[in-house]
Amino acid sequence: QAQAPTKWSKRNLSWRVRTFPRDSPLGRDTVRALMYYALKVWSDIAPLNFHEVAGSTADLQIDFSRAEHNDRYPFDGPGGTVAHAFFPGDRHAAGDAHFDDDEAWTFRSADAHGMDLFAVAVHEFGHAIGLGHVAATGSIMQPYYQGPVGDPLRYGLPYEDRVRVWQLYGVRDSVSPTAQPDTPEPEEPPPLPEPPDNRSSTAPQRDVPHRCSAHFDAVAQIRGEAFFFKGRYFWRLTRDRHLVSLQPAQMHRFWRGLPRHLDGVDAVYERTSDHKIVFFRGDRYWVFKDNNVEEGYPRPISDFSLPPGGVDAAFAWAHNDRTYFFKDQLYWRYDDHTRSMDPGYPAQGPLWRGVPSRLDDAMRWSDGASYFFRGREYWKVLDGELEAAAGYPQSTARDWLVCGEPRAGVSVGGAQGGPQGRTQDGPAVCSCSA
């Protein structure tokens, strides 16, 4: 990533479209609306507030210019450079954005030659709040134009871009309105022209699960962080067990290479032998190096000598350096180093007394203990023990996902609260640091 200098110290920023594209099919109201939604992409997730003003004192001045236009980035006609913006630290033009008026700016257009104004504006406002270019192919901040990014009303930033803006400004503590369609907008958003009959490519995010009521499909400790998967989404907790965001991230946007139609996973674990991450769904599995799937996947789970039918949970137990697979009442013990199933399996569960046989998933945490998840509860087994610790099960939502007291109907074990250090009042959401 290019050195991204400085950031805004203030949180309320005014903006104004000072000059409009001259001979463009996009009307002024459409241009203003696109700028509004492009700024909203960032203010949905970061503690920044943008408001449009009329006067010349706006913090972010937006211009459509041609060729040489009195700054150090002259435009070059159609193609080539299409826009630029100025970082918050720039002495003369901090936060301003310039778009090349020689481009054919489009919106919801099938025209492959046009330049999608919303996509470019999101990128440029990333600079205006302090982000530099990145090489990451999935990022909105990569320097090359990659075509339209879908419907402005449904667009969500790639996960790595969210993390980078959280590192600059922290996490916005109000949930993102775009993920909760029923949240009343603070002001009347400007209208956008109706989309053409072909609906936008991005699926509506009506299926966003809520972390406080979810039964998780899979739970895993990956590179020291905890991941809770539900449907097409996941929550992430940092090494010191702080929830990165109240809103889940979209699995496909971060775990690159999963098939688009995949609507969830059964189990996930990090292989101790090479620290690659294994995802299971039905009779297939994928191996990830970092967050990119490796060539040649998916493959059948028979590679693990597992029978058809998939697994409920997968868990690498550090105590004996073996990997356990669970399905219904059975469990298998597998050696990831020799890539072979230990003889005499499957065996009848449960292996750990007090822990249910049927599991959603399991993981080892940085405190050395193992955690087993089922429904809305979890059990803790101390390192080397073969029995659940006293006082469990406890509420997963409360102890891991920063929710209030468990909802009615969730049976919670003894008096002990969750892990030490967690205050019972108020969520302790902490912005991402890694």
Binding site: Y73, F75, G79
Partner: protein, 85 residues
């Protein structure tokens, strides 16, 4: 890859300077780049753009240089004083 024509080489070097991969041209002495510096700059641009880092202006690299993009440099401008050292 066929050796780039002089015009492509010139376009390439201007492009690499504009987006922070080469020091900006020095009007007094002109742009005297060693081949090695040029190759390193091309490799850096190829890696940033997700191309194979061949270090030469091959067709894929020239095509990427012609792709519409943001005007801002990818890397902080290379300080000339650092180069002189």
């Amino acid at each position: 890859a066929p050796a780039p024509r002089a015009e492509e080489l010139s376009l390439g070097m201007e492009w690499l300077s504009r987006f922070g991969y080469l020091p900006a041209a020095d009007p007094a002495t002109g742009q005297l780049q060693t081949q090695e510096e040029l190759s390193k700059a091309i490799s850096a641009m190829q890696q940033f753009g997700g191309l194979e880092a061949t270090g030469v202006l091959d067709p894929a690299t020239l095509a990427l240089m012609r792709t519409p993009r943001c005007s801002l440099p990818d890397l902080p401008p290379v300080a000339r004083s650092r180069r002189r050292r």
